[in-house]
Amino acid sequence: MRRLIFLVPLLVVVLLAVLFWRGLDPARNPASLNSALIGKSVPAFALAGLTPGAPGLTAADLKGQVTVLNFFASWCAPCRAEHPLLMELARDPNLRVVGITYKDEPAKSAAFLAELGDPFAAIGADETGRVGIDFGLTGVPETYVIDRDGIIRYRLAQPLDSARLEQEIRPLLADLAS
């Protein structure tokens, strides 16, 4: 029994190793903390469109259909990188892809979409970033999945990548659409 005390340091080292290993898990990265809005209704907002006549986007538009909401800006390089994946998502008839431009001049956002293609069924322009704050936005791009009742079910606080799209987002969308 007394001999076992020599195992204590070893035990401590092993415990620390486990702790560090867990702490270094990318899923526990505070940078990718879940949004505080998961499970809550989308915040109330009403944004104008990119051009004077365009319909814009309001919180009410996010109800009634499974929606993927993407915050982006023309000045944001990662937004450019993830754009093809949004184009691909937009081809899915079971969901709607909508966009909010974050702190961007509408004309520049429009040029960005003219160049890369427009995956969005509707777009709102958040020129001041105030709506972004109501969403708990930490930067662009961010992507949200919103269910038919307008409840936020998922938030990705980084650019879309095909692995996440296939492993996390598509299964969730299929689940919500059924």
Partner: protein
């Protein structure tokens, strides 16, 4: 120059360098630098102080290790404006904290509230401290009992005497004493 004078000079130089080092860092220790960047301030100094104190409590969601008062990230600037606006509009500190937590979660406060999810965070260090103290007490009490060996019983005294006789040590000692 004599050795004594060289030594004296070297000591003086090092002492002055140390003094310079301490005095350079002292202001930072006494008064935490007024790091809050000087964007437009509130005209009422009392409200401005309240707003700045709040800014020190709020984590910048982009840089994470900095408060929004210290950060130049776009969102930090926006949140500073927002806090000033809310302070000016008469919101209480708690209301403003709640506003931020609703959007960004407890993570946005450097000092998270005490509740079931954060109990480990708050109590954990004291538990570790008490455990360590308990182990220390246990260790020292055990060592004291080991350090004081029991007195020899008559049989053991006889055996020691016999062993000394057999070895001749007792004779040697007797011899050396003469």
């Amino acid at each position: 120059m004599s050795n004594v004078a060289t030594l004296f000079l070297a000591r003086a130089v090092v002492a002055v360098l140390l003094l310079a080092l301490v005095s350079a860092s002292l202001p930072g220790m006494i008064a935490p630098a007024q790091a809050v960047s000087a964007d437009e301030q509130l005209s009422d100094p009392a409200l401005e102080v309240r707003a700045r104190n709040l800014m020190r409590e709020v984590r910048c969601v982009v840089c994470q290790a900095q408060s929004i008062g210290e950060s130049d990230a776009g969102i930090a600037v926006d949140l500073r404006h927002l806090i000033r606006a809310q302070v000016a509009a008469g919101a209480s500190d708690d209301q403003i904290r709640q506003f931020l937590v609703d959007r960004y979660g407890d993570f946005i406060l450097f000092k998270p509230p005490f509740k079931a999810e954060t109990a480990v965070l708050w109590i954990g260090p004291f538990v570790v401290l008490l455990t360590g103290f308990g182990l220390l007490v246990w260790f020292f009490r055990r060592r004291r009992t080991i350090a004081a060996p029991a007195a020899l019983d008559p049989e053991e005294t006889r055996r020691v005497a016999r062993a000394l006789d057999d070895s001749g040590i007792a004779d040697l000692e007797r011899g050396s004493s003469t």
